[in-house]
Amino acid sequence: MPASDLLPLAEVSQDFFRDRSGGGCIQENRLFCPGWVVDNFDRYVDPTVQHLGLVVSAVVGGFLIAFLLAILAHRHRWLSSPFLAATGVLYTIPSISFFFLLLPITGRGALTAIIALTAFTLQIIFRNITNGLRNVPHEVTDAATGIGLTKRQLLWQVELPLALPEIIAGLRIATVSTVALATLAVFANGGGLGTEIVVGSNITFKTGIIVAGSIAVLMAIVFDALLLLAGRLIAPWTKVAR
């Protein structure tokens, strides 16, 4: 393809060029510029929604898997240790490392991020469900079996409800941690608030980083409160354990 002569320029008028001699909060990249935040808040909407999606998927997925593992370990006690160890390894492996370990298998994208985030939550939730079930007083289980409940009824109608506070506590910890971790999803090309922290010139933009970080912290607080409330609503008869 021969080099073409440059086409006639689509000109913009002179007042397209801004006068930046005035300085100002944003130009000087001061620590926090509230005016800019108010004007530009909508750019955080998409990343926040993505972030929500990542967190909810990871925690719900983590809960379902951990729940399954916990029930199995409850039935067959010898499974507790191996499960604890396995979920422990998944917890120890840094998420960003996990993203790239998954790279050859699931590629870059939200799925990779979700799998890694889910893996992180497993140990916390598994341990809390298991402890919650174990902490059910013997007198209660004895009484229940005494009145003729089957093992399955015992589990679902007695042990799990009593373990609820501990389970909720585990969910709270897992969710708050996941909200913070999900900022790293940007490295797996999974979106989230991390895009407003690391992409392009955002990495130097103090106000932007503060806003993105604050949204994440706020999200964590809201989730924590919601779960606490949910716990109180679903199981009002039990004291919320520390």
């Binding site: 998420s95 960003i96 790239f100 790279l103 050859p104 708050v176 490295f187 980083i209 970080g213």
Partner: protein, 240 residues
């Protein structure tokens, strides 16, 4: 999506490349520099370990005494527990990025930032650990004439070790994970293989991921072993 029959072969291939990357120095994808090889791996791994240990040490230095004192006198429960919850909510990426942008890159700043992440679990767990110590043991010690400091060091601390070490381990995991993104702040750790994908190529990225994972697991095992060694016989019997 990925076609499963071909998947295992492809995945193995890349892991093979990563393995090669660790042990053989090779030319970068675009040429010009040599990357990989044991020397570079050890250099970056050492840096990551250095940064992690410095931050962990600083966290212990600040959080342990504070937790011990607050726990012993039963004060500041709200603070100790809230700090733990709050610490969990700090987004590591935002912390490192803000630190680099607002204060500047460099080892000192990085260690401070990592310590901010490492202090909450240790503080909370130390506090709770001390509070959970059997009151009669404390009373007995006082009855024997021990001073406050002796009570803390000879009675409460040993009994609270499992809980405290649990906090230390959590801190260590957080710190080493965040140390992986330290290259964003100019400190080259193993995370550089992952973050500077440009230079090291896909093999390098995978190698970095594997090495970081191994290092984290190794550190956790060392700390777990330390906890086991430090837990008094009596407590170990008590557990079973």
């Amino acid at each position: 999506m990925i076609e499963l029959p071909f998947l295992p072969l492809a995945a193995f291939g890349l892991f093979g490349d990563a393995f090669d990357f660790i042990f053989n120095q090779q030319e970068a994808a675009t040429g010009g520099v040599m990357v990989g090889g044991p020397e570079q791996v050890i250099e970056l791994a050492t840096k990551q370990l250095e940064v992690t240990l410095l931050a962990l040490g600083l966290s212990l230095l600040i959080a342990l005494p504070l937790g011990l004192i607050l726990g012993h006198y039963g004060r500041g429960e709200f603070l100790a527990v809230s700090v733990g919850n709050a610490g969990r909510a700090i987004p590591e990426l935002a912390l490192i990025a803000l630190m680099a942008a607002a204060i500047g890159v460099g080892l000192f700043n990085l260690v401070i930032a990592l310590a901010i992440l490492g202090i909450p679990p240790i503080l909370t767990n130390t506090f709770v650990g001390i509070r959970q110590v059997n009151r009669s043991s404390v009373e007995a010690a006082r009855g024997m004439g021990m001073s406050d400091r002796q009570v803390i060091t000879r009675v409460e601390l040993p009994l609270a070790i499992p809980m405290i070490m649990g906090g230390v381990r959590t801190s260590a995991i957080n710190i080493i994970a965040t140390a992986t993104i330290a290259p964003l702040a100019g400190i080259l750790t193993l995370g550089d293989f992952i973050i500077s994908r440009n230079v090291y190529g896909d093999a390098g990225v995978l190698a970095g991921a594997v090495l970081v994972a191994l290092m984290a697991v190794a550190l956790e095992m060392v700390l777990a072993g330390t906890q086991w060694a430090m837990t008094s016989k009596g407590m170990k019997l008590q557990k079973s």
